[in-house]
């Protein structure tokens, strides 16, 4: 764990992103090829569909020390598998509620819809989320204080 | 020569002992249940017994054995000799649980000296509290049937008996005497009257234990019923939750796991229970205790047969925790009586 004061300035959050193969991952790729700047805080895990993201994945990421978790999929109606993102929405909004109810800061979790053409949006979402997590500081509630 | 200590002086004693560098554990109310935790003040005088047995002070549910580092394919174990020296004081241990610690002592020094347990055990002074209300929820304790009593001094360095506004203090060992020394003027000499009162309290408590188990012939009966269909009957309703074993003061099984996070790891041991199918499953997938009946049978055999054979003492101290917590009323007294019946 970093020292208080000076070290906090240099602290960079770790954000885990679960991105769907068809839209959001391609969107992130577009941001890269278009040379749009976005924070290096995010580590992306590609999943075939946002519907694949089990709430357990998110909780486990927090437990392993993630400071924030971002799940991103196709816009409603655009899912490559027709309905995967609707299922994701049901599961993950309820899980977000549970984070709130257990007092584990729910604002460390974010969902977004990013299409393959929205490189700019991807960068915005990540930038904004990183700013938010930076304000919140290291996540210790589920990771056991390792920061 | 017995001494007394006033109830309102106990907190002061705890303070005095802690300031001498000793870690003090005692029954503490924690989110609605009583558990053995660090004590920084007095001790509730109305607790029946802790939900989790005090063995967790000497044998924690999860204990790190050593750390290791991983660098690529190179793993370095950072094993350090177990040599902690701070003394431990356990205050408010019930006599049944103290007798259970004797079972653990025998077990952890049986065929292998377990350094983690033995190190803590050597440092520990155990102060027992006589039971005045030996009454676990829905009457289930039966220490008098398995060789104990609400005021047994087995395994204890000191025994305190609640006689109203004060405890009568008996010390049996050097460790106990040391506490008397540390306490100094907090202790006073007991009057004749106090000793008389203590005898009465002890007798009354003993009369309050209504559950009885006749241990005569248990071993023979169990040996004769290994394959008896009797075990099917009662184990059918077992849920396999393992509360009976995790809360048992003499149960001592543990599982060893490596917990690895980002290049660092620790080898830990955590309580395990013979009531879980994964306890016995082999790498081949074969499970020698495939059903709940085998697992329940193992629990009873371990307490009343194997423990006798291996350690020369009963594995059950009659604390009643397994009976009062079982969600489906599996009652070890009934089970043993039933086995004896089946053997006939």
């Amino acid at each position: 764990m970093e020292d208080e004061g000076g070290a906090k300035e240099s602290w960079e959050p770790k954000i885990i992103g679960f991105f769907c193969n068809w839209c959001s991952y391609a969107g992130a790729d577009l941001a890269g090829t278009s040379r749009i700047q976005y924070p290096t805080t995010i580590r992306i895990i590609k999943v075939m569909c946002s519907g694949r993201v089990n709430p357990q994945f998110v909780l486990k990421a927090f437990q392993e020390g993630a400071d924030g978790v971002l799940v991103s999929g196709c816009h409603p109606g655009d899912c490559h598998y027709i309905e995967g993102n609707y299922h994701a929405r049901r599961k993950l909004t309820l899980m977000e509620d549970l984070l709130e109810f257990t007092g584990v800061d729910p604002s460390r979790f974010q969902m977004s819809w990013v299409s393959a053409s929205e490189g700019q949006k991807f960068a915005e979402v990540v930038t904004e989320f990183t700013e938010r997590i930076k304000k919140l500081g290291p996540q210790t509630k589920l990771s056991g204080g390792e920061g | 020569m017995a001494s007394i200590i006033n109830k309102d002086k106990v907190a002061e004693l705890v303070k005095k002992v802690s300031s001498s560098g000793c870690e003090v554990f005692g029954p503490v109310e924690n989110g609605g249940v009583t558990l053995f935790r660090n004590l920084d003040g007095g001790i509730p005088s109305d607790f029946t017994n802790s939900k989790k047995p005090p063995k967790e002070v000497l044998f924690p549910q999860t204990e790190t054995m050593f750390d290791f580092e991983i660098d690529g394919s190179k793993i370095t174990a950072l094993v350090e000799p177990v040599e902690a020296q701070t003394p431990i004081l356990m205050l408010g241990v019930r006599p049944c649980d103290a007798r259970a610690i004797q079972v653990l002592d025998a077990l952890f020094t049986w065929d292998y000296i377990d350094p983690y347990y033995v190190n803590k055990r050597d440092r520990a002074t155990i102060i027992g509290f006589s039971c005045t209300e030996p009454h676990m929820p829905l009457q289930s304790c039966f220490c008098t049937s398995v060789g104990g009593s609400p005021s047994s001094k087995d395994g204890l360095d000191m025994l305190w008996t609640d006689i109203g506004d004060r405890y009568l203090v008996e010390s049996f060992t050097d460790k106990g005497n040391k506490i008397l020394e540390t306490g100094g003027n907090l202790f006073a000499n007991a009057a004749k009257d106090d000793e008389k009162k203590t005898e009465d309290v002890k007798k009354l408590a003993e009369s309050k234990i209504v559950r009885k188990l006749d241990t005569e012939g248990i071993e023979k009966a169990l040996e004769a019923t290994f394959d008896h269909e009797y075990w099917d009957e009662f184990a059918r309703r077992c849920l396999g939750c393992g509360e009976c074993t995790l809360l048992c003061p003499t149960c001592h099984c543990f599982d060893i796991n490596d917990v690895i996070t980002r290049g660092k790891g620790k080898r830990e041991r955590t309580w395990d229970s013979c009531q879980y199918p994964y306890y016995t499953i082999h790498a081949s997938g074969h499970n020698p205790r495939p059903d709940k009946k085998h697992r329940q049978r193992n629990r009873v055999y371990h307490k009343f047969l194997y423990s006798n054979k291996n350690l020369d003492m009963l594995g059950c101290v009659g604390c009643g925790r397994c009976i009062s917590t079982c969600p489906v009323n599996i009652d070890i007294i009934e089970v043993v009586e039933g086995a004896k019946e089946a053997a006939k």
């Binding site: 357990q56 909780l59 486990k60 437990q63 409603p76 309905e83 609707y86 299922h87 049901r90 599961k91 909004t93 309820l94 899980m95 977000e96 509620d97 549970l98 984070l99 709130e100 109810f101 257990t102 007092g103 584990v104 800061d105 969902m111 977004s112 819809w113 979402v125 509630k141 589920l142 990771s143 056991g144 | 924690n30 989110g31 249940v33 939900k51 989790k52 549910q61 999860t62 009454h135 929820p137 829905l138 289930s140 309050k208 559950r211 059918r236 309703r237 849920l239 939750c241 393992g242 509360e243 995790l246 796991n257 917990v259 830990e268 955590t270 309580w271 969600p327 009323n329 009652d331 007294i333």
Partner: protein, 336 residues
């Protein structure tokens, strides 16, 4: 007011009849404990044993757990499986479990014959223990409990005790709105008029807290957890052949370590696995040796599921499973 003895008689008669005709393989019911007033599960195979079946406010267990075990037994090679239905005695909350089990295609309707008994609340054994403080210890096993309207009357050799129901009832019974079985072959008792509103008042105080206060609350509660998994083992809806918490291959989701982060993980994942399915039978909380208010997690998700997706589990077999279904207009506030 419920006349427990009359209900008990009806249950016994029905079980006897089914066993005599061979319609059912056996009957899962309750019997009185030998050394405890609390009732326990029993399996009746012979009509002459039907008299063992008991009924009363101390019939706490949700017996459908054994129903799941029954349908999950794989027949031995070359053996013709006995697919006759199993008789089971259920309270209204347990009958809701059967609805969920049928919905999830675990228990086929034809494998079960249900004796559905009305219930206006069962007694928490821990609360009973407190109420019986002054009853002589050797009399406790033999007490009788009668329904006296707002009170329970506890009869034993001495002066009968009258204890307000509020002091004794299980938490789930205080907020329960379903007093009649929802699925049954035989209905036992007189239909109870029921209020059709669950306001979730029991979790309002927690919801009103700040995040930090709630975290402190759960920290205190979950730090007690000994991870015996009794809440899972008693839950009829936890029927996976291999539970995620037992799995070690290919990946260990939950370390065996008993500490706060692992306990949090366990309880949150368990709650998520029951979201939209849990019928609030209260089994998990009742069996918890550490008195963790597990139901509160379930209740919260029950509430949010109702608010967000209008899902109320355990009522209608035709309903779709919450996570197996979706609505295009499901709320998704906060999604960017």
């Amino acid at each position: 007011m419920t006349d427990y003895k009359a209900l008990e008689k009806q249950i016994q008669d029905q079980a006897r009849q089914w066993l005599e005709s061979g319609e059912v393989k056996y009957v899962i019911g309750f019997e009185k404990g030998d050394n405890s007033p609390v009732c326990r599960p029993v399996f009746i195979y012979k009509p002459e044993d039907a008299g063992k079946l008991a009924w009363g406010p101390l019939c706490n267990n949700n017996l459908t757990k054994y129903l799941v075990e029954e349908v999950q037994i794989k027949p031995k090679k070359g053996e013709e499986p006995d697919l006759r239905p199993v008789g089971i005695v259920v309270k209204p909350c347990d009958s809701k479990t059967i609805v969920e089990l049928m919905k999830e295609n675990i228990v086929p309707r034809e494998r079960v014959k249900i004796i559905g008994v009305i219930s206006e609340g069962t007694i928490n054994p821990k609360a009973l223990d407190k109420a019986l403080k002054d009853v002589p210890l050797d009399k406790i096993a033999g007490i009788q409990i009668l329904d006296g309207g707002d009170n329970f009357t506890i009869k034993y050799d001495g002066e009968p005790l009258s204890v307000p129901k509020d002091e004794l009832l299980n938490g789930k019974c205080k907020v329960c709105v379903v007093h009649n079985p929802v699925v049954y072959d035989i209905f036992v008792g007189d239909k109870v008029t029921q209020i059709d509103k669950d306001e979730f008042e029991d979790i309002a105080d927690l919801e009103a807290m700040s995040d930090e206060e709630r975290y402190e609350y759960w920290k205190e509660q979950l730090s007690k957890c000994i991870r015996c998994y009794a809440c899972r083992d008693t839950c009829p809806l936890c029927y996976c052949e291999e539970c995620v918490f037992d799995r070690t291959k290919p990946y260990n989701w939950n370390e065996k370590t008993v500490d706060l982060p692992e306990n949090f993980f366990y309880h949150m994942v368990r709650a998520m696995h029951l979201a939209g399915r849990c019928v609030d039978c209260g089994g998990c909380e009742r069996v918890c040796p550490m008195d963790i208010p597990i139901r509160k997690l379930n209740r919260f998700l029950l509430k949010r599921a109702k608010e967000r997706f209008k899902v109320v589990p355990g009522i209608n077999v035709e309903d779709k499973a919450m996570f197996g279904d979706y609505d295009i207009d499901d709320p998704g506030e906060g999604i960017k």
